[in-house]
Amino acid sequence: MTTVSAERLAAIFVEAADTLVDDFDLIEFLHMLTERATHLVGAAATGLVMADPRGRLEFMAASDEGARMLELFQLQNEEGPCLEAFTTGQPVINIDLAAAAGRWPRFAPRATSAGYQSVHAFPMRVRERVIGALNVFGDTKGGTFTGADVPIMQALTDIATIGLLQERTISQSEILTEQLQGALNSRIVVEQAKGAVAQACRVTVDEAFAVIRRFARDHNRKLTEVARAITEEPGLAARMIVR
């Protein structure tokens, strides 16, 4: 890959810092990060998973539908770079997917057939604990990380972790558990709202997500708040698309 532009990197850090100042929406923030991370390193897609205290990984965000499907595929098949980064706490760098069938017999062929050629994964760490992982997919041969790319992507992953730990006094593991469970439940609310909008507006669940996200932005509301309102106000889902 090409060397990361310092300007672009700075812009992302500024955007993240701006978001983190206020009461912000974690799910929207994580989606934004996956999109920026993808763009920054010229990758094809990025996905992010987080674990509950039982060590059960859950999908949290992805830059596009392809990455979302591959994250879910890893969780369902219990193999892949995200699981490896989560289990070992170490980054997984520059894996050539065409040669990775031995390492991930189910995941590698699936990712290759989806058009990806390389993959990287970075652990989300809080002190000694690993709470999730960020997955970067490349679609060109030689799309490999060099030099500063690895620490930069790890830094972006750390920003995602900071986003979760919005209460700065995260000295106790109780607060980490509270935050994680809250975040995972918010993700479920978004999935429920996607279903409601898909049904009411006759669109696919993936289109429904775009609809909800756009609605939240247009009305300057938090993504999770809008999602919750959809599950609580009968009729709101049907009004999401103006035809």
Binding site: R54, E178, V197, A198, T231
Partner: protein, 219 residues
């Protein structure tokens, strides 16, 4: 009100497994229902009820914030500022630590499971996952009650049809909510009832709903 045999048994089992002095389950819903539903023992039932009498406490905050509220020491000054009446009253009953876990599936809220202890100190890394599992089990029991599944079904339900954590289940839940004009909680109850009746995994049923191959009927 705590006459529920199965959930009482669950509270006692949870209390023992978590080295707690007691466990209580309260039903709390968006329509304003509030009340103790089951407890491992009379003292836990009283402490559980305190929160509703005083209108404050970890359980009420956990319901509002939709995430666990874990209080390792009720004697702390910050805790006392947060719930002055509740903290004093619970400590008079000898309770020093309260861990409140929401009983919820996304936006569908059913209540709270409270773990009470006589000694201050956090739940261990092994106990937190266990408490979450007891909370999940309680959610499944409460969901199946909504569609009138009997206690005999409930005992084997978790192994047969897990609440699951697949995205399709939650998406299908939202779709059924709109299709049938029911609450989210009831939508999941209906899906589970259908899965039992057809003897199919909930995942499969959900996938068919999302793919629009399956429509659940109105009553």
């Amino acid at each position: 009100m705590a006459t529920d045999d199965f959930l009482t048994h669950l509270c006692r089992t949870a209390a023992e497994a978590l080295s707690a002095s007691g466990v209580g389950i309260s039903v709390m819903t968006d329509d304003g229902t509030r009340g103790v539903c089951a407890a491992s023992d009379p003292l836990s039932e009283r402490v559980e009820d305190l929160q509703f009498v005083m209108g404050e406490g970890p359980c009420i905050d956990a319901f509002a914030a939709r995430r666990p509220v874990l209080v390792a020491d009720l004697g702390g000054s910050a805790v006392h500022r947060r719930w002055p009446s509740y903290a004093s009253a619970a400590m008079q009953d000898g309770i020093r630590a309260v861990f409140a876990f929401p009983l919820q599936v996304g936006a569908a809220r059913l209540g709270i499971l409270d773990v009470l202890r006589h000694q201050a100190g956090p739940l261990t890394d092994e106990q937190v996952p266990l408490a979450l599992t007891f909370a999940d089990l309680t959610v499944e029991v409460l969901l199946d009650r909504q569609v009138g599944a009997g206690n005999s079904d409930v005992t084997h339900a978790p192994a047969a049809v897990d609440v699951g954590h697949r995205a399709e289940i939650f998406q299908a839940q939202g779709m059924v909510m709109v299709q049938l004009g029911v609450s989210l909680g009831e939508a999941l109850s209906r899906m589970r009832a259908h899965a039992y009746a057809e003897n199919r995994p909930l995942d499969d049923v959900a996938r068919d709903i999302v793919a629009r191959r399956l429509h659940l009927d109105k009553d």
